[in-house]
């Protein structure tokens, strides 16, 4: 029976991509996530925040894809499918809420 560390070593050997490139991509996506989060926290109006939220969802879908390459587990792609679907529905919901003129506190 394999221990937990052996399990991850197996998957680490599976990835033939250079760790430098993987880490660089993680760094770029994380800084993009940080910038989008700053806009979401700061955004002067609710539509700005919704646009930032949509961008955050697509960045996280990208991170999930890179993590699937990194670990060699292709099942992570299901998370990306569900995430993009949920982000679309959230955007439509917020837009309908805005057009109906619900109570809001920007």
């Amino acid at each position: 029976m394999k221990s937990n560390s052996d399990y991850w070593k197996y998957y680490a050997e599976e990835s033939s991509l250079s760790t430098v490139i993987i880490n660089l991509v993680y760094l770029m996506l994380s800084s993009a996530l940080l910038l989008a989060f700053i806009r979401m926290a700061k955004g002067p109006s609710l539509p700005d925040r919704v646009v930032a939220l949509e961008l955050i969802a697509s960045i996280v879908a990208g991170i999930v894809g890179v993590h699937a390459i990194d670990t060699g587990v292709s099942s992570f792609l299901d998370v990306a499918i569900v995430l993009s679907l949920t982000a679309f529905l959230a955007t439509i919901g917020f837009a309908r809420f805005l057009e109906r003129g619900g109570p809001r506190d920007d």
Binding site: V51, L77, F88
Partner: protein, 134 residues
């Protein structure tokens, strides 16, 4: 060879997403921010997913990747249109350097009525006369 292709694809995708994030933090108002995020965000996710498909080169993975890309390309413009429309109707202020706002003379924020600019002027004057008679 495959590693280089995958590296190039995911680096391009991550660079586009970083560009979208820089755009959303630097640009001045809602439509310009959406212009930055919707196109390069969708293309960045699609490129990373193509990289995943090239890396795994497996039927199940490629099918899921095609589903994700098709879904993103179908939904991103719809979501951008809907949220941009809602933002304009709610009255989000535009940038002071905006050159053209074609909706401004056709949209009435009080009645939420949107003219197409092709109405006959006679109908308009008729209603005006009716209002005057009253």
């Amino acid at each position: 060879m495959t590693e280089w292709a995958v590296s190039l694809l995911i680096l391009l995708g991550a660079g586009l997403m970083l560009l979208a994030a820089i755009g959303i933090i630097r640009l001045p108002d809602l439509p310009t921010r959406m212009h930055a995020t919707t196109k390069s965000g969708a293309l960045g996710t699609s490129l990373i997913m193509v990289g995943v498909a090239v890396y795994f080169a497996d039927v199940a993975v490629v099918t899921r990747v095609i589903a994700i890309i098709a879904f993103i390309i179908l939904t991103a413009p719809v979501a951008a249109h809907v949220i941009g429309r809602a933002g304009y109707f709610v009255g989000v202020p535009l940038w002071k350097g905006t050159v053209k706002d074609e909706l401004q003379k056709n949209y009435d924020p009080q009645t939420h009525a949107l003219k197409n600019g092709l109405e006959k002027p006679s109908a308009n004057t008729k209603t005006q006369q009716k209002n005057r008679r009253r």
